[in-house]
Symmetry: C2
Subunit: 150 residues, 2 copies
């Protein structure tokens, strides 16, 4: 891999990091902290969740996660359901209020994407989309190789 390509990739990473930072800062207008939003989204997309799964998938400290969950429960957005098989874990689910809030978060996120890219003509948009798919495909390949070699 030559110098120029590395520089380009890093440039892209910085640029994209900034863009996502802007997006996230808008999402945060919804009253969640960044981490709370991640937790809500993860649970919303993947219900029910187990705290420890979230710890792994979101890379958050165990005890911190415990507090985040406690807070979200106290806010009436989540509840814990006892697991039948393993009494150490609780199954985390969204309450109705939590679902509404998640839906709102989701809507705002969609809206933000639309606003961000609305100025791109359809063809340009499709090219960008294709480029994103291409990159994800490469990341998939990398992960598959990692599975082989580790």
């Amino acid at each position: 891999m030559d110098k120029a390509m590395i520089a380009d990739i890093r440039h892209f990473n910085r640029r994209y990091t900034n863009m996502i930072g802007v997006l996230n800062s808008h999402v945060l207008d919804s009253g969640y902290s960044f981490t709370e939003a991640r937790v809500m989204i993860e649970i919303g997309m993947n219900e029910p969740c187990i705290a420890n799964m979230l710890v792994d998938s979101l890379n958050i400290d165990r005890s911190y996660m415990s507090r985040i969950i406690r807070r979200l429960v106290k806010l009436g957005l989540l509840y814990k359901e006892a697991s039948a098989e393993d009494q150490r874990v609780s199954l985390l689910r969204l309450t109705d209020a939590g679902k509404a809030s998640y839906q709102d978060l989701d809507d705002r996120s969609n809206e933000l994407i639309i606003r961000l890219f609305r100025a791109l003509p359809p063809h340009e948009l499709e090219e960008m989309h294709a480029a994103m798919q291409k990159i994800e495909q490469k990341l998939d390949q990398l992960e598959r190789r990692d599975d082989d070699t580790i």
Copy 2:
């Protein structure tokens, strides 16, 4: 923009955010906090800097920036040079130690990129690179339009 495309873009954003998070967590083994590293990189790439420029470009609170700079100065990585034209500002420059440290940061970042993508065959790598360039090009277009319309 249809639902599926929005979902794909958001999926890409999440995925890429995670990847960058992993990259960053490795960069942070170098003793800097994430924000300190950003500041060092920005100054290293763009010397001399003015604190207020950094506040804008990195989106960091003024007073927080002031403290970060004070810390980096205390660590012997930065120094302030009085500006001739405007006596309110100082020009921030890397000391020799700062340059060495920046170089180290830079080397590690390059190394990380290489490691991350080393399993991709050259042709795949080139495709990914092209896809990144394509996306940046679209972001450029958006920014140019914003300039027009704002």
